[in-house]
Symmetry: C2
Subunit: 136 residues, 2 copies
Amino acid sequence: MTEHENKTTKALTKNQVMVLDVLSKSNAPLTAYGILDLLRDDGFRAPPQVYRALEKLCEFGMVHRLEGLNAFVACSHSHCQNGGLAAFAICEKCGEVREFTPAKMSNQLEEWANSKGFAAKKTTIELSGLCKACNQ
Amino acid sequence: MTEHENKTTKALTKNQVMVLDVLSKSNAPLTAYGILDLLRDDGFRAPPQVYRALEKLCEFGMVHRLEGLNAFVACSHSHCQNGGLAAFAICEKCGEVREFTPAKMSNQLEEWANSKGFAAKKTTIELSGLCKACNQ
DNA sequence: ATTTGATATGTTATATTATAACATATATGT
DNA sequence: ACATATATGTTATAATATAACATATCAAAT
């Protein structure tokens, strides 16, 4: 049993582990090029190496992409791997990102989707504004 | 009383009108560069002309940005100008975008935000998947 | 009507984000 | 060991977005 496993119980590759590690250690979202810079000394030379790892990690639910920032964060929860809905509150001032799980909202989205026959594969919910500390 | 007005009852500028027009006439989202191409014959030469108009139109609530597509759509409703929440269902296959208004969900997001002291200025909700027709 | 200040526009250049295409290497199953 | 799939390295380029600055237009006050 290796340290990181995805839902298919397959170990992550070397590059996936490195990308996940820098994201996990960061307390703010990172862009693909930011990750690339952090991993130059570890053999990363070009964007595709980062983007390919990110693509898989997002598939596995271990990383989320913040569309509004073109940036990426490690998932705060384990249940995202199980298809759970994730939402994000992004502070415009300090950059803090909080992931949360709007359980009921999920049902309402499903209701709308069901009523219209829309089969949702992915749901993006992002709030941007000011966190408590920055709003004082 | 001019044709287009925003919530401050100020008429749109020439460029804003042209960008809104092409978006309104399009039955699919357009990228900034797509809009630029459509407006070349009308004096548009460079990206900033498009991006500046889009920025204002988004502020006014007359255009929405689809973060997941890096594209823009004219708002389907009038109430978006009043700070209403908008959500989008984007079909991966045919590209159709449906805007809808998840009234109750808005309350739940507010509840979470209130409980955490987060002051949300903007909310992005995007579902991507297959529309009814494409899911047959 | 003219000045003034604010807003909008035009333009060039460049920054940022993302992917195509192809060669090589590593892992996996038989 | 062989065949096949997956992952990696690399170069080049595409697609998206903004900085910076010059000029023009608009709106209000004198």
